[in-house]
Symmetry: D3
Subunit: 69 residues, 6 copies
Amino acid sequence: MRISARNQIKGAVVDVKKGATTSHVRVDIGGGQVVTSSITNEAVDDLGIKAGDKVIVVIKASDVMIGVD
Amino acid sequence: MRISARNQIKGAVVDVKKGATTSHVRVDIGGGQVVTSSITNEAVDDLGIKAGDKVIVVIKASDVMIGVD
Amino acid sequence: MRISARNQIKGAVVDVKKGATTSHVRVDIGGGQVVTSSITNEAVDDLGIKAGDKVIVVIKASDVMIGVD
Amino acid sequence: MRISARNQIKGAVVDVKKGATTSHVRVDIGGGQVVTSSITNEAVDDLGIKAGDKVIVVIKASDVMIGVD
Amino acid sequence: MRISARNQIKGAVVDVKKGATTSHVRVDIGGGQVVTSSITNEAVDDLGIKAGDKVIVVIKASDVMIGVD
Amino acid sequence: MRISARNQIKGAVVDVKKGATTSHVRVDIGGGQVVTSSITNEAVDDLGIKAGDKVIVVIKASDVMIGVD
């Protein structure tokens, strides 16, 4: 499937922390940047996401803000 | 201000495309990656965002999905 | 690509209304239900979305609310 | 209350899984489709959501993506 | 309809600015605070939202961030 | 950092409820209004958020809906 979300960044899973219903997946996207994703435990199990996996971080453009120092 | 959003990635504005009410801001975050942000025209004007500016892309962890090829 | 978003519903595009930067895509998911999606014009062009196309409506679980009459 | 969210789909609660702070509510919207919603435990308690209840799945248009196979 | 979204704040519409597909609605919630909402033109028309109307600002808890100065 | 999010409302933390991975932070924004925020435990720890703290509630305009009674 190709998806409309404008932001699709390749990376590697650093770790997966499972909670009661919600997991946090951290993905190294290179350049010293780690992105944190909060998804359901079911999604983690369904896709079989685990440390070391090659994945794609997907973010809809309307969920991206801009900050200025 | 420091903010709870887990994902804060430094980059440089590539371009700003203004619509009637909504702007699209593209930010080069390095490594050949460009992130697209959809924000209000008011935000662009208020922060004075323009091509070349150093900015920070800010994304809440609950808005990040994971894809697997 | 397979994606972590829990909600992936097949449907057919009813129409695409393009604005200055943002498009509204309406998708018939069957059972008399039409879902409206607000995405960037770039996404519409990139995926070549047009009326009649078979598509998949994708929604992250954390973006779904529950109402009670 | 009537709400601006464009997507309001009737269904019946399949099950509610409560976590430490976050619940997952699965709703059968007909046609073999089940939608998963991630909401606070407080919302589940406040609305008294339980299996079998008739509910309405509510999704803002800007949270809907389009996928193409 | 009652809705699971935890944040429902009463206010009065200050103004509505319609774009090509997206409107910005500003709502005075009292205490000198004005909240900006970005919704579809269709939602504005469907609910008949106009300056002076009593409305309720609705925000899902997972869309609220915390900042610290 | 200044941020593009249009809604930034000052308040005081009422309480923080930590779950396994996700925390709920309730913030009194005055006028009898309490806003609930769902963020990661890591964000709570990183910013040191606790009851009584002066904070700023931050919400992107595209995440705000309008209800009408």
